[in-house]
Structures are given as C-alpha cells and as structure tokens.
C-alpha cells in the first residue's frame, strides 16, 4: 500500500475517536491571534482562529474544552476539543492574561493586567461575581489545592497577593523578588513556587506559614545573572522535579524539589516563556516568545530534541494527553 495513503487512512479513521486524550499540542500565538494545534508527531493539525491576543490556556477536568484568555478582546474563548473550534466566549475585564479554575470549575480567577484587578467570574452565568484590586500588572494566578485561596503576582508591586475566595479579599501580601510572574504549587499543597523574572530567582513560599522558605537562583554556564529571567514553570505529578524557563538566557533549568539542586540546563529558543509536560512526563514542550518556535525536550536526558517554528509570539503551550 502507498505509505502516504496509509497514513491518510489512519488519520481518517482515527479522527472521530479522538475526543479526549488526543495527544494534540496546543500553542497560543499572542500576535498571531490563533492557536496552532500540532499532532503528537509535531506535524501541524490545525490553526484555530481565536479572539485577539490569545495567551494563557487551561483544559477543563473532562478535557473536552480548552479555555484561552485573549488579551486584546477582553474575553476567555472556549474551544471544543472534538471539533477544534471556538464555541463560546466569556467576557472579562481589560487585558486578561493568566487565569485559573476553581476546583469545581464553577469559577474562573483571571488577572487583568491593564486595570490591576483579579476578577472572579461565574462560568455558568458569565458574570463577574467579584473584583479584587491587586498591585499593578497582575500576572500569575493559581489556586491552592483546597480551592479556598488564590495567589496572584503583581509584576510592579513585587509581591504575591493571598486572596481569600470566600470573602474575595486580599488577606496577605508577601514581598518576593523583582517582577514576579508565574506559580506552581507542589502536589502535596505544601509549597508555592514563584518565578521572579528580573531578580533571576524563584521564591519558595511555605503555604502553612505563608513565609519565604527558600530563594533559589539560576545561572546556566556562560551567562550573567541579569540575562536570567525566569518565567514559566511546570512540576512533575510526583512533585519531585520542576522545570523552569529562563527567558533571555534561552535555557530551561531542571530542579530537584527536595534538595533544591539544579539538575541541569537545556538550551532552547529565544525568550523561553511557557513550559508544559506530556502526561507520561517523558517530554517537555517550551514556548519561545522571541524566536516564534517551540522546543521539545527529552526529560530523561534533559536535552533538546528539536525546535520547530509555530507562528508569531508563542505564549502558552498545553498537551492534551
């Protein structure tokens, strides 16, 4: 049989069954106003036109929908995974950048970088139930494991706001490094990691006391501290390893959570921002904001496998497996 035909036939019969765990890779293109969808073999599957300036993305728990914050149209678009089309839009405040779901998915917490608020949006009614004022340029948003608390960074105020969801109030401000960006929470709920883009650090906050437990810094060989601008982070499901993108240093760092040791660095593209892990954690995908490409990394050897162009200004990356 002709190999080309064979591949096409597989593609045809496979497609209808793939509503979930498709293995598809989604990359939001901030200046392309679209999401590029790649097949697991990294060939292009589809380009989904979205509202303008798509940035952070999250699947719902059922993984039949992907939500994407679109900064220039002030909406969160909802994409149906089966059809790969935008099926709905949820209005937000000005310039939504990063968001998180409540554990029951009834609420979305979104940072609006242009008006210094975090909004709590009721997903079913698409209405704003509360606006929590934050420091200027709020960015990272993440939920505590119990869902009662949301953490937000303010890039200008150099702090993490601790927001109590029941009262929609900031209950504590934790001063961290310069220009804090994103978060991960360890799966045991004990620690919150914060990347500080301009002080080249990651602050580890102990969630029991809300105090800084440790400050880590990174320096790939041949770079200077000011070149190292940590942004995106991902943590393995067993909570043992964190992968951190280092922005202008064009590297990612692999960190052992327990010992806080840097296990290694891998060279990626220009201005590495977001990172996503495949479910089996054999592969990491890095979005490179200034070289318009993504880099695929083998986690076992901590080495880059390949980079491929995707479109203008990749912001976030998610894998549906």
């Amino acid at each position: 049989m002709n190999r080309w035909l064979f591949a096409a036939a597989i593609g045809l019969c496979a497609a209808p069954a793939l509503a979930k765990d498709t293995g598809l890779i989604f990359v939001s293109l901030e200046r392309g106003n679209e999401i590029v969808v790649l097949n697991p073999d990294l060939t292009e599957h589809k380009r989904i036109e979205t509202s303008r300036r798509p940035r952070d993305m999250h699947f719902n728990a059922a993984r039949d929908k992907l939500y994407v914050a679109c900064g220039d149209d002030d909406v969160i678009d909802v994409i149906d995974i089966a059809t790969l089309e935008v099926i709905d839009s949820i209005p937000t405040g000005p310039s939504p950048e990063v968001f998180a779901f409540s554990p029951d998915e009834a609420q979305i917490y979104v940072s609006n970088e242009e008006d210094s608020t975090m909004e709590i949006i009721d997903v079913a009614s698409k209405t704003v139930s509360a606006r929590v004022p934050t420091g200027a340029e709020p960015e990272g948003v993440i939920n505590s494991i119990d869902g009662k608390t949301v953490f937000v960074t303010s890039e200008v105020a150099d702090m993490v706001h601790v927001v109590d969801i029941a009262t929609a109030r900031v209950t504590k401000n934790i001063i961290v490094g310069t220009r804090p960006r994103r978060f991960v929470v360890t799966p045991d709920g004990a620690e919150l990691w914060v990347s500080d883009e301009l002080s080249s650090e990651v602050h580890v906050i102990d969630l029991a006391t809300l105090k800084i437990a440790q400050v880590m810094s990174f320096l790939p060989p041949g770079f200077r501290p000011e070149d190292v601008t940590p942004v995106g982070m991902a943590i393995t499901q067993d909570g043992s390893k964190v992968i951190i993108t280092l922005g202008r240093a064009n590297h990612v760092a692999f960190v052992d959570v327990k010992s806080r040791e840097v296990l290694g660095y891998a060279l990626v593209g220009s201005r590495a921002w977001d990172v996503a892990l495949s479910r089996d954690e054999s592969t990491a995908y890095i979005a490179n904001g200034l070289s318009d490409d993504i880099t695929v990394i083998d986690m076992a050897t901590m080495t880059p496998l390949q980079s491929l162009p995707v479109g203008r200004t990749p912001h976030s990356i998610r894998v549906d497996d």
Partner: protein, 384 residues
C-alpha cells in the same frame, strides 16, 4: 493639662506620622525646556507638559507595595523660580522628605545640591543629562535619567553595528547644541568613527547665511554615511531628513533618537506602563522625561519596601548596591552605579513611532554588565 497632652500628641502624630514616606518633587517655574514653543506653523516643538503626572503614577503603581510595609507615600510637589529652589528643598527636608526628585536643568540641579549639602536627604536628578552634574560627585545624589555620554554611546554603538562609519555633524545655534555635538564627537572618536565634517546651521533666512540655512548646501561637498544633528530646540532639525544632498539617514535630535523611553516600545511590560500613563493623563504619550521621573519615584518606594525601617541614607546605600534590582519595564534589571549614582539602563533608538534598536547593541561586551558599555565606566570616572 490632659487636653493639652492629647493636643500635643495629636500634633506630634500629625507632623511625624510614623508611616508617612514623604517624597519631594521639585521643578522650575517657567522651565524653558517645557516652554510651549510654537513654530511658524503652530506646531508644538518641545514636550509641553510637565512630569508631575509620572511621579503620581509611580505612587499609584506602588500603592500595594507601600501598604504591605506599612508606609504611606506622600508626594510633596513644589515649583519655584530659580531663586526659590534652595529654600524649597530645605523646606521639603524640614517637612520630612528623605528623597527629592528633581526635574531641573543642570545649573539649577547644582544650586539645589549645594543647598541640600549635609541635610538628611537624597536628591534624584531625573532630567539633567549633563556630565558635569555627575562628576560633581554630590554624595547624596542619584541620577535616574541617562547621561549625555550614555545617549551618545548608544548612537555610536548602533552606527558601528550598522557599519555607518562616516558622520557629518550639524550643530545648531542654541548654546546646548554645541554640548550635544561635542559629546557625540567624543563618543564617536573613542569608537573610531570618522567625523568627516562639522557644520553650523542657522535659522536666519538671510541669503548671505545660505551656507548655514540651506540644507542642501550644508550637506554638500562632503562624504558621509549618516548625518548627526545637534538641535535642542528642534526647530531647524525637523527640516533635515529627506533634504540632505546625499541620500543618507539622519540621527540625533531628529530622525533616529536615543531615549530613555518611547511610547512605542512594546516588550517587557512597556506597553502596560505607557497605557497606564495614557489613561491617567487623558491620552498623553509617556515621554523619556516622564519615564525618568516615574522610575525615580518607583525606585524610592521599591527600595524602602525591601529594607524596612532603614533611614534615607541606608536606603540610598541599598539603592547603590548590587542587591537592588529595579524593574523599569525595559526587560532587564536596573540599578544605580555605586561610583556615580547613575541608573544603569538600556536606551531605545527610536523614530517617531517605532523602536529600531535597543542599546547596548548585541556584541558590546563588558566584564561586569553590558549596561556599563553605555556612559562613563568606573575606570574612567573621575570626580571634578
């Protein structure tokens, strides 16, 4: 007696207000740098609006930071004529300002520095680029705007990177124009650019002055890759691009300009800063002077938040240390140089609506930080 005690306590609390962080802002009444100068066609030439909005924006931007460390920033903004500046700065210090941001021309920065000598205050010079203000080495002064030398080094790095090696320098009639031209020539010669000619231009329409008022004649009979224009007022300079005898780009006061800030910068959170400023001022574009004032006030509040309880001298020491990492929304961390108090920063080479390059240009290296390839480096720096 008791009521007197209460009254006294009340007064004391009001005056000392433990949590107030008083930041002064001092500007010059009728500053010619901000005069609304109308060209013949009623075009506004220099930036017509003052920088006080930028100081206010920094306080709003950092409200959360200040609150977290239990400080309440209070802006003490004063404006006076040249003769009243010394008294103004002394009054600000007496009222409790530990930092005063100056939006003043260089000679008056010196007047204020002398009036504040020995007082418990740190002055931040935001808008006087002259080297002489820096080499005066006032122990209590920082500089948040770029020095002239930093600006000129930015042009020179760019010209070298583009291999535009031969430069024709055109100098205007304003006394500060010669200062600009001299600073450029010094930087250019240091990097082995070739100055193929230096010519003076005049606004006089007198036909006898045509060698100086006709752009074609000014730019003829000389070989050059690029024209550098030194024209503080901008009234002549705007007629030079597209009018040179040889088809060559124009840099300096017109054309491609090296600036601390340009509203069209769209990376590193710059857009958010510019659009907050737009919103706050009803649509005004943030100028380089605005940025320098904004970053000055921002640096003060940020520093206080990182060393809680310190007095202004300790805060200043912290600001000049390597531990201080300031975010000016230009993609890299900024800080004040310990030896001259100058804020290290990248400069933008911008046209009227786009940032073409950012200095330090890639490839310029330095043993400590590439930002120190702009401006007078520690080894060459000497107090006057």
């Amino acid at each position: 007696m008791r009521s007197l005690a209460v009254l006294l306590i009340g007064l004391w609390a009001g005056a000392a207000a433990a949590d107030d962080l008083r930041i002064g802002y001092l500007s010059l009444a009728d500053d010619t740098r901000y005069q609304q100068d109308w060209g013949y066609a009623r075009l506004i030439l220099p930036p017509p609006v003052r920088t006080i909005d930028a100081a206010r924006m920094a306080i709003t931007d950092l409200a959360f930071v200040a609150e977290a460390v239990n400080l309440k920033p209070v802006l003490d903004a004063r404006e006076s004529g040249p003769d009243g500046l010394a008294a103004s700065v002394q009054a600000m210090v007496a009222d409790g300002a530990g930092f005063v941001v100056l939006d003043l021309p260089a000679p008056l920065v010196k007047v204020v520095a002398e009036a504040a000598a020995g007082l418990p205050v740190t002055l931040i010079n935001a808008t006087a680029p002259e080297e002489s203000v820096r080499t005066a080495c006032y122990p209590n002064m920082l500089h948040s705007g770029p020095s002239l030398r930093m600006t000129m080094d930015s042009y020179v790095q760019y010209l070298r990177a583009m291999n535009w090696m031969k430069v024709l320098v055109l100098v205007g009639e304003d006394p500060s124009d010669q200062g600009l031209a001299d600073a450029f020539v010094t930087s250019a010669e240091r990097m082995r650019l070739e100055i193929t000619g230096t010519r003076a231009f005049t606004l006089a329409a007198n036909p006898e002055a045509r060698e100086g008022n006709n752009v074609k004649l000014l730019t003829a009979d000389v070989d050059y890759d690029v024209v550098f224009v030194a024209d503080t007022r901008g009234e002549f300079g705007r007629f030079i691009p597209y009018a040179t005898q040889a088809p060559r780009p124009v840099i300096g006061s017109v054309g491609l300009t090296a600036l601390a800030w340009h509203w069209s910068m769209e990376r590193d959170g710059a857009t958010q800063v510019s659009s907050r400023f737009d919103k706050m001022t009803g649509g005004r574009k943030m100028s380089a002077a605005d940025w320098s004032v904004w970053v000055a006030v921002k640096s003060v509040i940020s520093a206080y938040s990182k060393v809680p309880g310190a007095d202004q001298a300790k805060v200043r020491d912290y600001m000049k240390s390597a531990r201080f990492r300031l975010d000016g929304s230009k993609g890299v961390t900024l800080g004040y140089r310990p030896w001259d108090g100058q804020l290290r920063m990248p400069l933008l080479l911008a046209t009227s609506d786009a940032v073409i390059a950012i200095a330090p240009i890639e490839g310029y290296l330095h043993p400590e930080t590439t930002l120190d390839t702009l401006g007078t480096d520690q080894a060459e720096f000497a107090c006057n």
